[in-house]
Subunit: 922 residues, 2 copies
């Protein structure tokens, strides 16, 4: 044997941990054998043998390999008491591929090898089932013919179809033993005709050909493509092993059966054996669905001994694998074989329950309990969702912009949404796109559907923030807001029609679909409590209103990482005052409007602080360009035209001395008059014209890079001063009332420390005034968003002024890529993803190599000048597990995300801590 490596391992010999050498399946079979499970005997030919074979230009099997195989066949014969090629008691084997990584369907498998004209008769005797034996025989010929002899599959299919046609069989099941025997004969002819040789009767020749075929399939086009597609490089998996396993049959009589089972219920997590079985049947029968399998519990009556063995097997599997197992078994003449086991796939509730219970049972520790659940998996627990059993046909599909599902009556504008919603009606707000002034409609609606806009459109962002389902950019739907219809192909949806939207898939359904409510069970709370103990990274929520804050708290947020003050401006009661402020011609007029907003914002902050006490609340001063608070230009132009028309109509009537007629144009004018809310036509016209002029004045070429954030705060100091005062006065009131308060004032869009110093001067001045007026000490922290690249480069300098940083990775990613998200997602980003130029959408998953690198530099430089600098992230990526892992790696203090993602982030933060040693970032 000299130094030739050992190429073949019996299952008893192989190292169950060595997937590289034995392949995943081979290692699994060895492992099961090693722990004493009754696995059908067999052996593994190593990947090394495969590589040696493939390395040979003439594709010769490595010298001695087949000798070694024959030796192991002999041992197999001894174990099974059957003979390979023995017509009396034939040993049949399966020959299966299996590389280190599972590549389902990519490589070849041959079953029932060892059959020939003689052993076929032995099989008939063994099973007492000629139909089964002929079926196995014709299948073996076809499979072997195709895989090992390269006979085109169609040649067999043609012959088979001819036989079926002749006897009028609709499916294979309609064929009897005779027809199958005939088919086998025909297939043997096909092989002979195509290869020029008879089908190999020698079972060893069959085996050698099968081994070669499996080896060859590693370099087959399908497999190579698959490896390229999924980036399976040789360091991950190299070559395939070959598993040769004695066939066992569950259809050898009433004392045989076959089944699949989970060690716990995969739908609920309940700790009991769960599964199905079929007596006197093969695994294929279960799959084919010819007979209905019985629930495993019935076996307790029917086959009590086997059932007891199964319960024992369940115990052993869980004790060994310390994970819920999904296993296959076959009972051949009263003997239970375990054919395969793997970790059970479960839904999220089951994962959570089993984690908590297995920890309590001492099967796993908390670390394992946390790590076995993928954080994203929790998502399905956190929103109402369509009943998984629902099979409706979607009417249209848009972008899945905010997860969860909702049903309701269609409304085409926010006012109607509010009016109908206030009456308790469930409505879905359907618009071409939404604007900030639609915000009251969002509050009132169950969900939002737009026909235009991407995942970052106003509708999507606001809906996600509120945790409401949203389908955005459903371009197949033509929304006509004026006509109050939405048209999809032939279907016309009218206001009041019921639809269901699924923001997790983007599907839109007509009518109401069955829904499942979110489950925030005690087990989930327990698990997340463990996560919080482990995590170093804190998790906060983005929340803009007292209601948001309450919700965030329910989801376990440790504070508010981003409270966007502009959301408060969009309240329909306030928007007119905001518009007054924008239209103000002088600082004084602007101050007067702000004076009216101050008590409203102060009240908001007070209530938010109270809810969150004593947790930190980060308030971001006004960020968006102010034109976002004004209607769109086209809308104003239309309204102004309508008002002018109304004026003319009224003037005409006045000349004629007539009243408004009740119908036609008169009715229209009357409606328009009603909407003036006490203003004269002239007043309304003047205001709208003022707004139009302002909208035009404020127009920007690149609004993303425009006059916003701190730039506004410096050009219109009154706005920021009002907001700062509102925060500090609200905090003062809390202090007076004995409520612990931890407010953080955050400045957006900062690019230079001078800006921060400018705003800090306002804060210090107002803070001194507020403390004097209130007579109490008012705590606060002052910090900056980091969302402009220059702020990253100036982190050291900014940290001299800022006590905390919060990465705004939405804007920072846009600036780093020079991608406008709305444009990119509509124009070139899909192509970039398709061509693999970018792996992910950087607006969903943090781009660690670009944006992340910038963040890392920023944290380092910032802490160099202020070692206790607090650093967080409040961009959308802050709720994404992989991004959270990176944030942990670079030493952030917390992530902040939308409330429904808080549990996901909490688990991800624990994972990041538990797996920090594995993390690699060049």
């Amino acid at each position: 044997m000299s130094d030739r490596p050992k190429y073949v391992y019996d299952f008893e010999e192989g190292d169950g941990g060595d997937k590289r050498l034995l392949g995943g399946k081979g290692a699994n079979l060895c492992e099961m054998t090693r722990i004493g499970l009754n696995v059908p005997p067999g052996f593994v030919i190593t990947t090394e043998a495969c590589l040696a074979y493939l390395a040979d230009p003439e594709r010769r099997l490595p010298p001695g390999l087949m000798d070694e195989v024959r030796e192991h066949i002999r041992r197999l014969e001894a174990k099974t008491g059957k003979g390979f090629g023995d017509p009396a008691n034939p040993l049949l084997v399966s020959v299966r591929s299996g590389s280190a990584i599972s590549m389902p369907g990519m490589m070849d498998t041959i079953l029932n090898l060892g059959l020939n004209a003689e052993t076929l008769q032995g099989l008939i005797r063994q099973t007492g089932n000629p139909r089964f034996a002929y079926d196995a025989w014709r299948r073996f010929i076809q499979l072997f013919g195709k895989v090992a002899l390269k006979v085109p599959d169609e040649l067999f299919d043609e012959r088979f179809e001819a036989i079926k046609a002749r006897v009028g069989a609709r499916s294979d099941l309609d064929l009897g033993a005779d027809e199958l025997a005939e088919a086998a004969e025909a297939f043997l002819e096909v092989v002979r005709a195509h290869t020029g040789r008879p089908f190999p009767a020698d079972v060893h020749a069959q085996l050698e050909a099968a081994v070669r075929a499996v080896f060859d399939s590693w370099m087959g086009k399908r497999a190579v493509d698959y490896r390229r597609e999924f980036h399976i490089t040789p360091d991950i998996a190299n070559g395939t092993a070959v598993n040769v396993v004695a066939m066992v049959f569950g259809n050898m009589g009433e004392d045989s059966c076959t089944g699949v089972a989970f060690t716990r219920d995969p739908a609920t997590g309940e700790n009991r054996l769960f599964g199905e079985y079929l007596v006197n049947a093969q695994g294929e029968d279960v799959v084919a669905g010819i007979r209905t399998p019985k629930p495993i519990q019935e076996m307790a009556q029917e086959m009590p001994d086997i059932y007891r063995q199964l319960l024992e097997l369940r115990e052993r599997l869980e004790r060994h694998y310390r994970e819920v197992q999904d296993f296959e078994f076959t009972v051949e003449r009263g003997v239970l074989y375990c054919l395969q086991t793997r970790n059970g796939k479960m839904n999220a509730p089951a994962m959570v329950r089993t984690s908590v219970e297995m920890e309590r049972e001492g099967l796993i520790d908390r670390r394992q309990a946390l790590l076995r659940i993928r954080p994203e998996h929790l998502e399905q627990l956190l929103f109402p969702r369509l009943d998984p059993g629902f099979r409706g046909r979607p009417l249209a599909t848009g972008l899945p912009a905010s997860p969860g599902a909702a049903s309701g009556r269609i409304v085409f504008d926010a006012d109607t949404a509010e009016a109908r919603g206030r009456l308790g009606e469930k409505v879905i707000l359907v618009r071409v796109e939404t604007k900030p002034e639609d915000i009251h409609g969002f509050f009132a609606a169950q969900g939002i559907l737009t026909s235009r806009g991407g995942k970052t459109s106003h509708a999507a962002v606001v809906a996600r923030g509120m945790g409401k389902p949203c389908v955005a950019g459903a371009e197949g739907i033509r929304v006509d807001e004026a006509a109050r219809v939405a048209v999809v192909g032939e279907t016309v949806l009218r206001e009041g029609d019921v639809i269901t939207i699924d923001g997790s898939t983007g599907h839109v359904y007509a009518g109401e679909a069955p829904m499942v409510e979110p489950e925030f069970t005690g087990d989930l709370a327990t698990l997340l409590g463990w996560a919080d103990e482990v995590a170093r990274l804190g998790v906060r929520a983005n929340a803009d209103t007292p209601a948001d804050a309450e919700r965030a708290l329910r989801f376990g947020a440790q504070g508010i990482g981003l409270c966007r003050t502009e959301r408060m401006f969009n309240d329909p009661a306030r928007l007119p005052v905001v518009v007054d402020m924008i239209l103000a011609e002088t600082p004084e007029a602007r101050a007067a409007a702000l004076e009216r907003l101050l008590p409203m914002q102060r009240e908001d902050f007070y209530r938010i602080f109270k809810v969150m006490a004593p947790r930190p609340v980060t308030v971001r001063l006004l960020d968006p360009p102010i034109h976002e608070f004004l209607p769109r230009e086209e809308e104003l132009v239309r309204e102004i035209e309508a008002l002018r028309h109304l004026r003319e109509t009224l003037a005409g009537l006045a000349v004629l001395g007539q009243a408004l007629p009740a119908e036609g144009a008169g009715a229209e004018a009357a409606r328009a008059l009603a909407s003036l809310q006490g203003q004269t036509v002239e007043q309304a016209l003047a205001r709208k014209e003022g707004m139009l002029a302002k909208v035009r004045e404020l127009r920007e070429v690149n609004p993303m890079l425009g006059h916003r954030g701190v730039r506004l705060g410096i050009t219109y100091p009154e706005i920021y001063r009002m907001q700062i005062r509102a925060v500090l006065e609200a905090a003062a009131r809390c202090v007076q009332e004995g409520i612990a308060v931890d407010p953080e004032i955050m400045v957006p869009q900062v690019c230079t420390a001078k800006e921060l110093e400018y705003v800090r001067a306002y804060v210090d001045e107002i803070h001194a005034e507020v403390e004097r007026e209130a007579g109490v000490k008012v705590p606060f922290r002052f910090g900056t968003m980091i969302e402009v690249v220059r702020a990253c480069m100036r982190a050291g300098r900014l940290a001299e002024v800022a006590e905390f940083f919060s990465f705004g990775t939405n804007d920072l990613s846009q600036a780093t890529f020079s991608f406008s998200r709305e444009d990119a997602e509509n124009k070139f980003l899909p192509l970039y993803n398709e061509k693999g130029i970018l792996q992910d959408n950087p607006f969903e998953v943090l781009d660690v190599h670009g944006v992340g690198r910038l963040m890392q530099i920023t944290v380092e430089w910032g802490r160099r000048s202020r070692p206790d600098l607090k650093v967080g992230i409040c961009g959308e990526q802050g709720g994404h597990p992989e991004s959270i892992r990176f944030c942990h790696h670079i030493g952030l203090d917390y992530v902040s995300c939308s409330a429904p993602r808080v549990p996901i982030a909490r688990l991800a933060a624990a994972h990041a801590r538990l797996r920090e040693d594995e993390y690699r970032f060049d």
Copy 2:
């Protein structure tokens, strides 16, 4: 004396280099004294004395200071032979402030100190001029009263005006000795009434009060504001010195005079004494312009001995200061005093000439010859400019968008500009704003004037690139392109009217203004040759056409750092083909259009390579979003409406069986038909409608961050492939013709190495084809723009693919600041500059702390993975001296700028090298 510092220095004692201690003026007087010039004697009280005084809460003069001063006054008496307070032969002194940094007019000065009722009589005797003496006396009382005694100036003015009114004097000059004496008496009364004490007669008391007053003026509001405004911090200048100098008088008779002179002619640089003088006069007389001074050369006849002394003085000054000096002198009774000298301010031609000549004379070395000229100073040499003597009143003022001046007839569109320009007429293209399709108008025009847009508007950028004068955003002018008039207030300018624009100031004048041509003299060439020898940084030009390239070469460019291929697309002969390409519905149709563009681009590149041989030419593949090649949406809507109207008109006429009437709507229709260039109305309409649909499809929210650069190159590979082929085929032709060629293919807007690899694959494929077809080896280099922040973060990875980097700092600065340049310059940037939040406009001057830091990281990481990586900059800042200094510091290989800035950049590159040891960048 113990360890009390010495507070007072005679001019003989002081260290002429110690401006910190002695102030600038004091140190200068000491220096002149030290080198033996006849300076009026005097002494300096140090800034240390000032600081000690200011540090005392009770503002006491430091102990012993006045004793020291008295001692120095005694020495002064000895030197002058006069007595301080001596009625027989009074010593008068001036008391002047002087800090380390000149702060003109910010602190106080007192002249003629030492006058009182007695010494006044002595002065009358000394001068024989009672009017002068009384004038000096009343001035001294007022100045001393105001500065030292804090008497409000108006009290003196009132009394003085009363006297003038009484005698009917229109100016001070109409007053005689008697009235001035009366005024002095009145002023003494004012002082007594206001202060409650008589005017101090004791000259030592006068001196002490004057010293205190000067010290106090350092903390005066004016001075404090000035220091804050100009960032004069204590480390730069701290406290003021006091200079006490014996007064000398040039008005003591015909053997006295006063004058100012330059050691060389400041207008031409000619090496001869240049200046003016007045006999029997004081310096004030020269300033007041009562008498016309004589050219200094006349003194050779009138005062030959003094003239000889002046020539000697000139020699000594230049030998000592090794710089052209601007000095003041006074001759008192035949004795020449040098009162002050400083480096002479000269225009650029004079600076260049004197640099070269002084080097040849051995006065300075080449290093000094280069360093004494500020690079920006050369700018006035490089464009035609308004005659400096021109004093016209501007009609309107816009932004100085591209330097230089031009006169010409107004044209309102590019076609007219081309038509009239082709006939040799000088035209100025006047538009609301310009678009790429106006490019032929730019070529034909002398200059461009727009009423809308900033310094980065299309007009500004293109004009700067071409080196043509441009005034942009002259909002005072209402341009009505349709009516073909431009209205400024009452003035109506029509097509054909002549105007002059000055792109260096933004002024617009009616009519033709006198102009001065650029001088590219032999001295400039010599100087820049020296600069090239010294510089480590290369200087290339941005040039888009063969004509540009020729021009760049004339300005001394060492290559082309940025050749923008889109400029070639805008040629009016090509634009329709480009539009065909954009409107193409299939890759095939697009390929057909590109097939027509290929030979045109190839020819351009061939000619450019030929001009520049053997220098490198960096060709940037298409960068702007393609909608920039289409007309604006509103324009298309208007044109489509007009075409529809035309169609109806024609249809109406057809029905009536009539021909087009020659007048009215018919004439209009005829004109419209003429512009269809062979298309039918239907064809033209279809095309315009197609363009409109495309414009709407391509519309982007943030075009700056949109679908452009390599993103286009990947979504429409045909475009880049055509351009790459054009470059390589042109290069191949050069090689075939024996022309040395060094083409560099540059990819814009790259954010990930995958994009580069994608384009590189096109290049390799096409390169192999071209070499095969041409049968020659075709050299080329492949590289990337660095203008996306992510590219900076991925520099190491990009350098694996790119052989060179070129920083596109226009876009990079926008992305780093998250400023849209157009929006920022119109909205908040002026306020930011005004408030000192940003010192400069980052689009003009490289922001070294933000953008620069990114660049530094990029260079470092890039070179780490490719040590010989070539790195340049081709943004606008590449022509800015301070930015060039930074580029040198971080080790760039070259800068590239618009051709007219090449000489400036060459000098700046030399400066950067010569001063690299001084450069500090945290």
